[in-house]
Amino acid sequence: MKKISLTKLDEFFAAVAASQNLYLPVDGAKGAEYSLWTEGTVMSKAYNTLRSAKDFFFPQVETLAAFKVNGKNIEVEDVRKETEDFVVFGVRACDAKSFEILDSVYLADPVDSYYASRREHGVIMTLSCKKPTETCFCKAFGIDAANPGGDVSCWMTDSELLLQANTEKGEALLASLSILEEADDNAADSEKEKLQTILDKLPLGNLSTESFGGDKLMALFNSDKWEALSESCLACGTCTFVCPTCQCYDIRDYDTGHGVQRFRCWDSCMYSDFTLCAHGNTRNTQMQRFRQRFMHKLVYYPANNNGVFGCVGCGRCLRSCPISMNIVKVMKALEG
């Protein structure tokens, strides 16, 4: 365990930013956003960022390959560039867990090289929560906000920042920062208890997941509650585009006039053309698309990943759905 006094926090950031880009949550006009640290940047105290850190590893748009077409001949150009190193500071426990969920998809064979190179060059410094809010329910998915994962876990007491490396990348980073002092391992315990008492009082603290999981597939699929739950869903993609664990993407071509760029972009199972193909669409009604989204998070993903759920309880979909329909209401309706 290492530590540094909060008075020297800016020097700490400067030291980290000396050798690589450092991103941390900064207060914007309407909510915290990850932005590049520069001299004088003040870290946000918000409970979490508006937009998750997924963008650093799985950006909304990225070019896969470029083609030059002349006459009958095609040239393929591999446009991948090695990502330079970067550090993301201030990631909460829920977002840190979402990287593991994305890893299980993109780093499974065949490895997605775009995602893998970003993941290798990115170091994640998590920060335990200070004031979780009512839309947080990470506890329901077995995430302990007091012990956030990531390469380095940090706790912020009133006077100092405590850092503990969890992976070699974390060890290497902390070792390279001579500014840090040693601290004994249970220095963060008081901070953890303080957080634990708040976590127990969270309104959604007792949300249970035992009526979900891989083995309840057909029962949940054929439940008659999906109609009522999805009746006012607008088929926009907000819940999927703010979600840190949504993995789906679309591959499209763009004709730039002097070649064709094949790019990948986030896609949403809520959109009507998600499963549209030449002979029709297997999910025609909004109920089916709505059901697919929550079945994937609560049943299909656990079935394929021995019980790990596809949701991390960050609460972003609770805040941003235009009609306030979300996974918590779905779980409570389908319980028992």
Binding site: V61, K131, E134, C236, G237, T238, C265, Y271, L318, P322
Partner: protein, 324 residues
Amino acid sequence: MQEGMVKRASELLADGTVVRVLGWKNGEFVYDPTPAVFESVEALSDFVYNDFCASNLSKYLVALSKKEGKTLVFLKPCDSYSFNQLLTEHRVDREKVYIIGISCDGKVDESKLRAQGAEGVTGIATDGDTITVSTLYGDVQLKKADVIAERCVTCKSKKVVAYDEMMGENGEENPDCGRFDQVAALEAMTPDERFAFWRNELSKCIRCNACRNICPACTCEQCVFDNPKSGISQKAAADSFEENMFHIIRAFHVAGRCTDCGECSRVCPQHIPLHLLNRKFIKEMNECYGEYQAGAEAGSRAPLVNFTQEDCEPSIVYTKEASK
């Protein structure tokens, strides 16, 4: 207000005038009601109407008026303008809808609530115009006027313009509501400042289409953005140009039909002030072609599908700029 609505709805359901009631049902916390359809008097026990029922229900009537039987709907003043606009475009069947107009003195904006310290909300109680928010970290007392949504602060009219029955007395238009002040402030900026302002705002867009799917004026069966041949990718701003193009075209397609209900800005997960684009079109049309309020009365011709011989030339944009 809520009890009166539930009582009236139960009567209309019981005597068969309507087959279903379109309203809101309560959520996990007080501030997250969901639009819902109630088809029986017992179901109405979940019905809720409070300061957070801000969503505009008229767009749901496009689908509901295609179903069998009449639908009862409660329309706030701004929703009724959208209903009239949908009526003008023959998207809703007037006979299939029974409207109860409800007066409205402004809805609370959840993000304003949060900005003033309401994090970790466990309960919200409103009495008169003070709102007490009990949270995990102590209670917060707020005056309703401080947390009213911006669109309600500059509310253009408290008058329900389409109803079969009115609960409470109807309000009036409010011509000098100052809804164009922010637009004027932006117009007063230099082009570089404006470009920087809009680049900063529109670059936050994640193309989730919430603004398009909530908008009561956007009811095309297949949107131009959904057509892969249009060259505009529906799901991704692959370049900063696409962000500008998406929002210019989205605002353009509702120009003259937008009733300024403010839903697009309410639902934007990135809190981009999208209504400032729509209001710019409305302000420009009022100045060039005379005052016009979409949805004021059904059947009126919108400015962009109308013309006079004496319209100004497009070059007015250059001369007008010089004067400001």
